[in-house]
């Protein structure tokens, strides 16, 4: 519900209020900490809350302002961080038992930037273990509940960050998106989530799942807030060899421009192949999405059908590439240098201890993907599996490039279904993977994609996805902000009150 409480305000509004002295950073941080105290027992979005650290940063902000210093655009605005991002001195687990109790000795680059921006870090949010999942049910610690309906999933893998923002426990959060892990939770919780262009945000300090796909990005209540955060964390990092050395696209300006509600001259593509096929979206989702498309047309956008035939193969391509890279990235969790060590009782060899550690420390979805990835890379199969997937990935990329010759952005529903009920899809992994049907293609391409709330179906949020060309993040924010401008109230402001 919209309200006048601090926690109801946008990040932009909070930043202004702090800068202009209408409130203090400490008051703001305290308000969100109180909210966490009040509702997180129910929602369970946080794995770790850092009251002391957050308040200390808030005090620094107030002191700096009192000294007359000029601070950045989000100074004093609290933020939650998905527990897949390494934070010095704060427990970081990737929601896995294998990292239980690990305290990193260093900060991820995006965390350094958040600290430099003087944003109090409220804590670490829950997720599917090692970012593998679409419901946060695979967290080794506990499930996070969807604030819209506590019997339903908040999406995944970044369900914690999305739920925290949806339940107003944080105005902003960091997520990571490998196959849709920011966008899909955004869609099912009625919040805004952006996957920036791959390589535009540093992966240094991001616990790796799939190296060529992982992208950190902002989670927020609206496009402008997300854009502000986007500009704080983005930019080249020499510690990440896959980091693009190019100016950050002007996403804040684009979000403001979009908010004026003028999309005349813009061509928006709809992918023919998304609409076809047996895995098409739920009718309620389609209806909400199409209502949103109508709004965009009213703003002057032209809808153009594009054909991307290789998108039909995006899901299998992703489920060969991502687990392959993951199987190698997760090899380092072996009980030797950090994290869990099991079975070291004097009776087992190191090889056995490593196996026992990984057996005890990894959950079923992680194990499944490690085995799948090991299979896809194994001698005799690597050409048919991993090798073939790399080739099809090129075709997907080419389809995007061809489409962007005809249109400025591509739109789709973010995810085929509303938030499903707990346990509905854990019995059949493939059914779970379908949640990423529309989000995966742009991960394979490397281009930006955002999910903006567009309406309700069966009382649950639906998201509309906007995808852009590589380094065309600004287009995605512009379209999203324009859609928001047609909504009397943002979905994020109408989330039901949490029942304690």
């Amino acid at each position: 519900m919209t309200g006048n409480r601090t926690i109801d305000q946008t990040a932009a509004h909070i930043a202004d209020a702090i800068r202009e002295g209408r409130t203090t950073a400490v008051e703001v941080t305290q308000a969100f900490l109180d909210r966490i105290e009040a509702v997180d027992g129910t929602v369970k979005a946080f794995l770790h809350v850092d009251r002391e650290g957050a308040l200390a940063t808030a005090r620094e902000v107030d002191a700096a302002l009192a000294r007359g210093e000029e601070l950045g655009p989000l100074a004093g605005v609290p933020i939650a961080i998905k527990d897949v991002v390494v934070t010095k001195g704060l427990p970081t687990t990737a929601a896995s038992k294998i990292l239980e109790g690990w305290i990193p000795p260093y900060d991820a680059t995006i965390v350094e930037r958040i600290k430099a921006a003087k944003m109090p870090i409220l804590g670490k949010t829950n997720m599917d273990e090692f970012a593998m999942g679409s419901s946060t049910e695979y967290s080794a610690y506990f499930k996070t509940l969807n604030p819209w309906d506590t019997g339903r999933i908040p999406g995944g893998s970044g369900g914690g960050s999305a739920a925290a923002v949806a339940a107003k426990m944080a105005p902003l959060a960091i997520g990571t998106d490998t196959g849709g892990s920011i966008r899909q939770p955004g869609a099912v919780t009625g919040t805004f989530g952006a996957k920036p262009t791959y390589g535009s945000n540093s992966r240094y300090g991001l616990i790796a799942f799939s190296s060529s796909l992982d992208t950190p990005g902002p989670v927020a209540r609206n496009a402008l807030d997300a854009a502000l955060l986007h500009e704080v964390i983005s930019g080249h990092d020499p510690r990440d060899s896959t980091s693009i050395d190019a100016p950050v696209p002007p996403v804040v300006a684009a979000a403001r421009a979009g908010a004026t509600g003028d999309l005349s001259g813009l061509k928006l593509g709809v992918v023919k192949e998304f609409a076809e096929g047996t895995d098409a979206a739920e009718p309620g989702v389609v209806a909400a999405y199409e209502a949103g498309v109508e709004q965009l047309v009213k703003l002057g956008a032209e809808i153009v059908e594009v054909s991307c035939p290789s998108f039909t193969y995006a899901l299998p391509t992703y489920y060969l590439i991502a687990p392959s890279e993951a199987s190698s990235n997760l090899a380092r969790y072996d009980g030797v240098r950090y994290g869990l060590r099991a079975g070291d009782d004097g009776k087992h060899s190191l090889e056995e201890v490593m196996s026992l550690t990984r057996e005890a420390g990894f959950g079923p979805e992680v194990k499944r993907r490690i085995i799948l990835g090991t299979y896809a890379l194994s001698a005799g199969y690597v050409d048919a599996f991993y090798g073939k997937a790399q080739l099809v990935r090129t075709l997907i990329k080419q389809d995007f490039e061809k489409a962007f010759e005809k249109v400025d952005a591509i739109i789709s529903p973010t995810t085929p279904f509303i938030a499903f009920e707990f346990g509905e899809r854990t019995g059949d992994p493939y059914q779970m993977y379908l949640a990423d049907l529309y989000t995966i293609p742009t991960n394979l391409y490397g281009g930006p994609g955002v999910s903006v709330p567009v309406g309700l179906s069966e009382g649950m949020p639906v998201g509309l996805q906007v995808m852009g060309p590589v380094l065309g993040d600004d287009i995605t924010y512009r379209v999203a902000a324009a859609l928001e401008s047609t909504q009397d109230t943002l979905l994020a402001d109408t989330a039901p009150e949490i029942e304690r």
Binding site: V86, P105, S211, E325, E351
Partner: protein
């Protein structure tokens, strides 16, 4: 008891095919993928960062200097430098390899298709190079609890990651047939030449005994006319001499097996330094599947032709040409120069000459007395506790007449024992040639009076008889007289 043929029997029947795989530790200031220092001898785990410790979230960034060093090695080995090359992951689990994969190169190495020419007993052999690629080294493991500090029988191990991530260049030859009985020598000559080439580039210490140059020796045997046989790989080959011995042993061992109709297993064996044998490693249940795939965390490399040419321009004189030049400078015949090369004495002699000695003297000492001592103790020549500067000093003392050969050898004893420079040793031990003519004359007078008959003969013109008196004087002066001077004094006195 392993059955062995004699080497002669073996090479009479079979043709050896060699393969050599060499790893070279680069001496860059920092590691391959992170900025940790590489200085030797640091306290354990003090040169470690999130990247080389493989903490969650860490990412590699490639060291430009290591790439350049590898390109230079490739150029010096006459390789083609790839226009498009990348790193790959080699996946397997081992505690000294923190990521449990090694970042290496697979199908697209930096350098390919080169060669090294060596001369063995007057014959030229071309060893073709398959590839030169770049990878990272592992940490160091101490095995505790076993008898020998080796892995067998150890109850636990302690791992230090200081060396994890040091840049390593791997050089792989193509199979080398046609060496016949000279296979061991060719293997040794190739390794020595490779070492000299890399050393001349200044990119590595290339010291086998320190592990900055590591060799794996592959060998197979076949009957003339047949295809190549199954090869074995022998590791733990830590000196040039071991390279030779390992090849020799494998030839003998494999030929005996083949004679008996048994098959050779494609296996990894370990060279035993003390016995010269190779021993089978623990056989694995299944061959390791490394599941190579291109490293997604690193960018592709496209060494521009300009960059390659810039690096080519920095290459120094190839060792072979340098040897030819030195041979001319030192006025040595082919055989003599070959002896110098075989004794691994080129640099030592060069340094000795640079320190002021004449070439002939330098050659004489290093190939003569010092080589003899090195063989006695089984050391490499360069490992002896005497420096080229000291040898030059020794030679100049001989030239000045302060020492004779016999005394010089005693001075060498002192230097090797750590007593200091030749002059100091000579002084401390009182080894200098007696130049005090008064003392010499006294000794001569004594000898004359002790040998009156001989003295008479000399007075009579039989100067050859002076030898007896010279001997007596030398004995009296404990060899510290210059024989020529003594002879002259005798002649003068008895004329």
């Amino acid at each position: 008891m392993t059955k062995l043929n004699t080497y002669e029997q073996a090479v009479e029947t079979y043709e050896p095919v060699l393969g050599l795989e060499t790893h070279i530790e680069l001496d860059t200031n920092t590691k391959m993928f992170c900025g940790c220092s590489t200085t030797f001898g640091a306290e354990p785990n003090t040169q470690v960062c999130p990247v080389c410790l493989a903490l969650p979230g860490a990412l590699p960034v490639a060291n430009r200097a290591a790439i350049e060093a590898t390109i230079k090695i490739g150029l010096a080995l006459n390789c083609r430098i790839a226009e498009w090359t990348r790193f790959a992951r080699k996946n397997y689990f081992y505690p000294d390899m923190p990521k449990n994969f090694q970042t290496s190169q697979y199908e697209e190495p930096l350098c390919e298709e080169g060669y090294v020419d060596v001369v063995v007993e007057g014959k030229e052999y071309r060893v073709e190079i398959e590839r030169v690629h770049l990878e990272e080294d592992t940490g160091k493991t101490l095995h505790v609890g076993g008898a020998t500090g080796r892995i067998h029988g150890a109850t636990e191990s302690l791992v230090d990651y200081n060396r994890a991530g040091i840049p390593l260049v791997e050089i792989v030859t193509k199979p080398v047939p046609g060496t016949g009985a000279l296979a061991p020598e060719v293997a040794r000559a190739y390794t020595a030449e490779l070492r000299d080439i890399v050393r001349s580039l200044g990119v590595s210490d290339v010291r086998m005994e320190q592990g900055s140059l590591r060799c794996d020796v592959n060998l197979s045997l076949n009957l003339p006319g047949d295809g190549w046989g199954t090869r074995t790989e022998t590791k733990n080959v830590n000196s040039l001499r071991s390279v030779e011995r390992a090849v020799r042993y494998e030839v003998r061992r494999q030929s005996a097996l083949l004679d008996a109709g048994e098959r050779i297993f494609q296996e990894t064996r370990h060279f035993q330094e003390t016995t010269g044998e190779t021993r089978a490693g623990r056989s694995k249940e299944e061959a390791t599947d490394y599941r190579y795939f291109p490293e997604p965390d690193l960018a592709v490399m496209e060494p521009s032709r300009e960059w390659v040419e810039e690096l080519r321009a920095t290459l120094p004189e190839p060792p072979r040409r340098r040897r030819e030049r030195l041979q001319a400078d030192w006025s040595l015949g082919d055989k003599e120069m070959q002896s110098v090369v075989n004794a691994d004495a080129v640099e030592l002699i060069e340094a000795t000459v640079a320190a002021g000695a004449n070439a002939a003297g330098a050659v004489k000492w290093w190939l003569g007395e010092l080589s003899r001592r090195a063989n006695e103790t089984g050391e490499e020549l360069g490992a002896l506790a005497i420096t080229p500067a000291q040898v030059a000093e020794l030679q100049s003392m001989v030239d000045d007449g302060r020492l004779n050969d016999k005394l010089a050898r005693q001075v060498i004893d002192g230097v090797l024992a750590g007593e200091g420079d030749p002059a100091k040793v000579a002084a401390t031990r009182g080894l200098e040639v007696v130049s005090d003519t008064g003392a010499l004359e006294a000794a001569v007078d004594e000898a004359i009076s002790a040998n009156p008959a001989v003295a008479e003969k000399i007075r009579g013109g039989a100067h050859a008889a002076a030898g007896v008196l010279i001997g007596a004087v030398m004995k009296a002066t404990k060899g510290q007289a210059d024989a020529g001077t003594v002879r002259q004094i005798i002649i003068d006195k008895l004329s």
